[in-house]
């Protein structure tokens, strides 16, 4: 199968930008990625746009402002994993031979507060009954896991502490502010056991990549980053807590989608968890990061509390996770969040991340998971 490389990466800061349209936000990321690859827009053969809340054909409107070259630009969506499936479609397009060079852009401009429930697919009765608070499903997952394995609220707070501290060095993060453990543990409870400083805000932002068939990547960069795997799974029956669901089976127990995606991704990349140098995972609430340690095999089931206690996932640790500050500090513009993870990992593998650089990073892994249990992982290597 044809190998695909990332030859350009760009990002628009995540945050709140009332004076910028979503198209302007996306343009900044795409122009930065094109410049990074030293490739003109007119040489791009296809493009994919990941968005969930923005209107139809956002990709076409971004393309128009870059010059109407007539290429195929389509929008793709898979809730919080939208950015990942856009990358995946770009990879498949190159592998199919349909093009050699394409752009993937993720962009979102989301309303403040809890995510609007009907766009996410909650039905009216769920809205009326108040069963649509997105983080409440994560919280119920956390509560059950804590009950089974003894993870504590202190472990959850430590994840938030680490990520907020890492964010201080990331100029593209919405919040660049360290908090003390006391501040985190004293922040208001949103949905027990989850606190305000342990949760991420939906916001605005964009990120973009230029993908290229590896055999031609030398035309654009001396440091191509190879996409070793890009996989997307939906949950097996009754294996996921994420909304909008209204029931789970009490009899059927399948591995959850993060585990399934991890297995597929490691196989496709031909690596094992210990080969990962640096990871960006979906810490939309801090507890999820712990779950992802287990799903990704960074530790065994129920051992994620120990892993954070040991400091293994700190920037100087054995397997640094969310060196960027994570979504807790960056916020989650859902079309852009995974593409943004990959932009930061590309910079890690190129060694250009300054104070948040992980020494000698060779393999980067990005993971997202979201509504309906969409789960996706991209692994890159240099």
């Amino acid at each position: 199968m044809k190998e695909v490389a990332i030859v350009g990466a760009g990002i628009h800061k995540f945050g709140r930008f009332p004076d910028e349209s979503p198209i302007q936000i996306a343009l900044e990321a795409v122009r930065m990625a094109l410049q990074d690859a030293n490739i003109p827009w007119k040489a791009i053969e296809m493009a994919y746009c990941a968005r969930c809340y923005l209107p139809a054909s956002t990709g076409a409107r971004i393309g128009a402002a870059l010059g109407k070259t007539g290429i195929s630009i389509i929008d793709v969506e898979s809730a919080c994993a939208s950015g990942a499936v856009a990358i995946r479609q770009g990879v498949l397009a190159i592998q199919s031979g349909a093009c050699d060079v394409c752009v993937v852009v993720g962009v979102e401009k989301m309303p403040r507060g809890f995510m609007e429930p009907t766009t996410l697919g909650f039905e009216p009765w769920q809205v009326y009954m108040g069963l649509t608070t997105n983080p409440s499903y994560w919280a119920m997952n956390a509560r059950r896991h804590m009950h089974e394995y003894g993870i504590t609220e202190m472990h959850i707070a430590k994840v938030a502490y680490k990520n907020h501290r890492n964010s201080v060095h990331n100029p593209y993060a919405m919040y660049q502010k360290a908090f003390t453990m006391e501040e985190i543990l004293n922040s208001p409870v949103v949905c027990s056991p989850t606190r305000l400083l342990e949760i991420c805000a939906p916001n605005e932002g964009a990120a973009a990549l230029v993908l290229c068939a590896s055999e031609k990547a030398h035309k654009y960069t001396s440091k191509p980053i190879t996409i070793a795997a890009c996989v997307h799974s939906l949950p097996l029956y009754a294996s996921d807590f994420r909304g909008p669901i209204y029931q789970l089976s009490a009899k059927v127990s399948n591995p959850n989608p993060g585990v399934v995606s991890a297995k597929k991704a490691y196989e496709q990349a031909g690596i094992s968890p210990k080969d990962v140098s640096v990871a960006e995972v979906q810490d939309t609430d801090a507890f999820n990061e712990l779950i992802h340690y287990e799903e990704l095999g960074f530790c065994g089931p129920g051992e994620s509390g120990r892993l954070i206690d040991e400091g293994a996932t700190e920037i100087g640790g054995r397997i640094p996770v969310n060196a960027s500050g994570g979504l807790i500090s960056k916020g989650e513009p859902i079309g852009a969040s995974h593409v943004g993870q990959m932009v930061d990992l590309v910079w890690q593998l190129r060694g250009q991340n300054g104070p948040r650089q992980v020494a000698n990073a060779r393999v980067g892994l990005g993971l997202v998971t979201g509504a309906m249990g969409h789960s996706a992982i991209t692994i890159i290597k240099r």
């Binding site: 507060g113 809890f114 995510m115 609007e116 429930p117 009907t118 909650f122 039905e123 009216p124 009765w125 809205v127 009326y128 009954m129 108040g130 069963l131 649509t132 608070t133 409440s136 919280a139 119920m140 997952n141 509560r143 059950r144 009950h147 208001p188 409870v189 949103v190 949905c191 027990s192 056991p193 989850t194 029956y237 009754a238 669901i245 209204y246 029931q247 789970l248 089976s249 009490a250 009899k251 059927v252």
Partner: protein, 145 residues
């Protein structure tokens, strides 16, 4: 006479197929489910396809009124969208309630304090709001017993 006024109101389920009929008296109403004739999995309401085996061959199965709390959280802020609960907002428990038929359903809980995984719960079928046509919209929640 209050009885007369009550008799005039029509009760409608918050979601078609969620309850045994008739919807009055409320004490007699149970949650209704679908059981897959092929694999035996049970779903809340009228399932259009079995998420386990894909079969569309379903039979109706009224669900037990008693269950156990599998996990929970407390909703501390008004949920997004057109929430029909008390205004001003009152925090409430939300949980997965495990029923003996082999399913766990998401439900509001009557309490927000002293919740505990494994505790026994009982179904409460109640009027949640009146719709634009003056119908009483019937919903469910669970209370600790």
């Amino acid at each position: 006479m209050p009885g007369n006024e009550k008799a005039q109101k029509k009760q409608v389920p918050i979601k078609e197929g969620f309850f045994t009929m008739p919807l009055s008296p409320l004490e007699n109403v149970r949650l209704n489910g679908s059981k897959c004739r092929k694999c035996g999995e049970v779903f809340l309401g009228k399932a259009i396809g079995c998420e386990n085996c894909g079969s569309a061959d379903m039979e109706e199965l009224p669900l037990s009124k008693r269950g156990k709390l599998y996990t929970y959280t407390v909703i501390e802020h008004r949920p997004p969208g057109d929430y029909k609960g008390p205004d001003p907002f009152v925090p409430f428990g939300e949980g997965f309630v495990e029923l003996p038929e082999g399913l766990r359903i998401v439900a509001p809980l009557t309490e927000s304090k002293n919740l505990k995984i494994g505790m026994d719960l009982e179904l409460v079928v109640h009027k949640l709001f009146e719709d634009a046509n003056g119908n009483e919209v019937i919903a469910y929640k669970f209370k600790p017993v």
